[in-house]
Symmetry: C2
Subunit: 250 residues, 2 copies
């Protein structure tokens, strides 16, 4: 059975304006690969309701899981939760469990209207609790709604991941050679990719203070195949008179 697939929606003007360097994509890509729900697409979209609603409905139909980051705070630009309700066509209402959790975390008089918005969710949502933020994320259907602040998002994903039915972990094996140019190895590499059609054999040039080179990464769900392909790449590099080094360049 093929692995389930994932799409990530990064919701927030701050990524599209260049104010903020996103680091959630890499974290989720890595962790989703490890639990066998590989990330197949990412979209970064602005805090515009019509865009969020249309995008959520498009991708929840196309992928097995949709993860969102951003837009669930208490301010006027946090509109993800109400847009998810609209996308699913369900009421956006106080979630009693979320309300109780949050009420217990705030001092008397501080659980104001803005903060109560964070306890307002699509009807039928299941909470994604976390120890860092008072406000939980939530799942509805195959859509998992998380915070944009990386350490909160990571705590939410840690809580969510064990509840997801994953597939075979995606693993990778790498080998690199200093001084190698992609154009030199391209033909031999294509032959290796063709020999292992189930693998994704990628070629990644790099430049470091120590010099430049190319890393070849074989990725898939079959360790034996990935190791066999990497052995073939190693032999290809050695045949060019280079000294292949196992692993990724540091």
């Amino acid at each position: 059975m093929p692995n389930p697939t994932a799409c990530l929606l990064v919701i927030g003007n701050e990524i599209l304006s260049g104010r903020t360097q996103d680091i959630n994509i890499k974290f989720l890509a890595t962790r989703l690969g490890e639990i066998g729900i590989p990330l197949r697409e990412v979209r970064v979209i602005p805090d515009i309701a019509a865009t969020i609603i249309a995008t959520v409905n498009e991708v929840r139909a196309a992928f097995d899981h949709v993860f969102t980051t951003g837009g669930i705070g208490p301010t006027h630009d946090d509109i993800t939760s109400e847009c998810i309700s609209a996308a699913f066509g369900v009421p956006w209402e106080i979630h009693p469990e979320a309300f109780a959790l949050m009420e217990a975390r705030y001092a008397k008089g501080e659980f104001n209207a803005a903060r109560r918005r964070m306890a307002t969710m699509p009807r039928g949502a299941t909470l994604i609790k976390n120890a860092i933020s008072a406000a939980p994320g939530f799942s509805i259907g195959n859509v998992h709604v998380m915070a944009g602040v990386p350490r909160i998002m990571q705590a939410m994903f840690d809580a969510l991941a064990p509840t997801l039915a994953g597939g075979k972990p995606v693993i990778s094996r790498a080998v690199y050679a200093m001084g190698l140019m992609e154009g030199t190895i391209a033909a031999g590499l294509e032959a290796i990719q063709n020999r292992y059609p189930e693998l994704d054999v990628g070629s990644y040039p790099f430049a470091r203070d120590a010099g430049h080179g190319v890393a070849i990464v074989s990725k898939g769900t079959d360790v034996t195949e990935a190791e066999a392909a990497t052995a073939d790449v190693t032999a290809l590099m050695a045949g060019l008179g280079l000294a292949p080094i196992q692993g990724e360049p540091v």
Copy 2:
């Protein structure tokens, strides 16, 4: 006249697998804002021809400019160029100027078949030359095809940017307060956003070694409005007994 809009396609399995931390989104978002072609959407998609072709055709119809990064090297996983040809329905053929440029850069016998692929482009493409890489990027219609390696992409964008008809630069003004919580300022902030509907007033919590707080960023094309909104936010913060600091937290 409203500013022209941009969409970025990040093409490459290495971002979706978590192997590589993307830094091209932030660079292009910032630079595109500066030349008044704000980035409205980003999609990260895999090296799969059908996906690339369909996505290019969808977004080139929806945005004024489309920028792509990745997939124009010499190896089998570099398929962006031929997919752009397919999307535009034009032949993929040797570009004589690109061929001549590259032939001059390689030693005799080194301009092999894999490297000649990098001189193969959609008919009608205009080159995006750069001093770092032998292989140029190219533009066709409103689609601008650049390398994925950041320093090469940046050199290509530097060459391309002066040829684009931009709009009003997007500028921003920021103010922050240590110790502030978003839930405290949310109601006042929404009123300010409503007072300046042309601006995008964003609220960004942060945590530093020095403490936590919230930065409020007012962004738009009108400096006077952005400064007026920031003055209002400053007064709002001061009214809460905080000490507002102009600019972004460092």
